[in-house]
Amino acid sequence: MCGRFTLTLTTEDLQAAFHQFVFPGGVQPRYNIAPGQPVLAVPNDGRFTAAHFLWGLVPSWAKDPRRYRFINARAETAAQKPAFRAALRRRRCLVLADGFYEWQRLGDSRRPFYFTLKNRQPFALAGLWEIWMGPDGSEITTCALLTTRANALVAPVHARMPVILPPETWEAWLQPGEVDPATMEPLWRPYPAEAMQRWRVSPAVNNPRVDAPHLIEAVTA
């Protein structure tokens, strides 16, 4: 499960960090990106241009988009799932982030932790995108994040983590057109734990209404 993440960068920061992609103007730092919100993603349409997608994949065949909002897709089984199999073959994207939150369950309570790369650089999450056609013929583009089993750093907090794709895989992931899902399996390897860091954060992040720098500050037990 990956249900919240951050992208604490502006358009200028993003352009400097991902020189191979083109970004829309006006991007502001976000500390609590939640499902249902627009997220910045680079789709595999051959243009290497980031655009906003709604987080919560609505399958093309959904009659009612209010019922189907998949925020995650399990990478290991996405090739078999009706909601994801076409997207995995044909509509992949990179969702840009610089950190994500996971919650540790302790009895009845849940403690949030924040995860980043050790070098604090922004990174790319593996995503799937889909087009849903509205009754008036207009299209809505939505996306979901792929998840995999947790690495050694995430595992004490949560059993799953998002798929983080290293830069050398981006070109293959973003190739337009059809790809055999079997060839993608090596990508589901959890990102190396030694390249990541985590710290405990305040439960303030639980509330999707809060979006401020203090959410990612470390708290002590």
């Binding site: 991007v27 627009p38 988009p65 009754p135 809505i140």
Partner: protein, 205 residues
């Protein structure tokens, strides 16, 4: 803003009205931003959290117009059935978020100042009136604040109506507001020319 703790915002931007020379009203530029962006930004600046934007007609174009703001998008595929479908969707979201109240904004009223929204919230906190509306130049206007007790009633609405369908049963508390521009609606090309002339700079109240 203290007046708005626990109160969310809803921008109703699903409609398909194209009286402005074939252009969707909520995507018309006015004072440097399109109308739906202006409404969502006002809600955020007033301190409402979260802010939902309900989209339907040309849904993608409308939500893309607010993609730079920290808002949640509600898709209303039944927008042609009238405004109540959007109101029901938003009321359910407000209820699930366990908010004390919600402020419903039309997307075509560009000069609602954030201070007016804050004043609505403060009037609610002071009186606990279940519905609060601005009264501008002796006329009832929008945005409308509804308390949580009203959410279930909104979820039962049908047809092309919103919270105003409840006003007979539950008279709103009027909040007097002096600046008449706040109630300006962009409903016709003449309104648009009057209120959003190219290059004019509105300085606010």
């Amino acid at each position: 803003m203290s007046g708005c703790a626990g109160i969310g915002g809803v921008v109703l931007a699903a409609g398909g009205a194209r009286r402005m020379g074939g252009r969707l009203k909520q995507l018309l530029p006015c004072k440097g931003e399109v109308l739906v962006h202006r409404a969502a930004r006002t809600a955020l600046e007033a301190g409402l959290r979260p802010v939902w934007v309900v989209v339907g007609a040309q849904a993608q174009a409308v939500w893309q117009a607010v993609a730079d703001l920290p808002v949640e998008i509600l898709l209303n595929p039944a927008w042609e059935a009238g405004q109540s479908a959007s109101v029901r969707l938003a009321a359910a979201a407000l209820r699930r978020a366990r908010l004390a109240g919600g402020v419903f904004f039309p997307a075509d009223q560009p000069f609602v100042p954030p201070a007016l929204v804050t004043a609505l919230c403060e009037a609610y906190c002071r009186t606990r009136a279940p519905i609060v509306t601005p009264e501008i130049a002796r006329e009832r206007s929008t945005p409308v604040l509804v308390a949580a007790s009203i959410f279930p009633l909104l979820e039962e609405l049908h047809g092309d109506t919103g919270a105003r369908a409840l006003f007979d049963r539950i008279p709103p508390l009027p909040l007097h507001w002096d600046a008449p521009q706040a109630r300006a609606e962009i409903d016709t090309p003449a309104d648009y020319r009057r209120w959003c002339p190219e290059g004019a700079t509105w300085q606010g109240d």
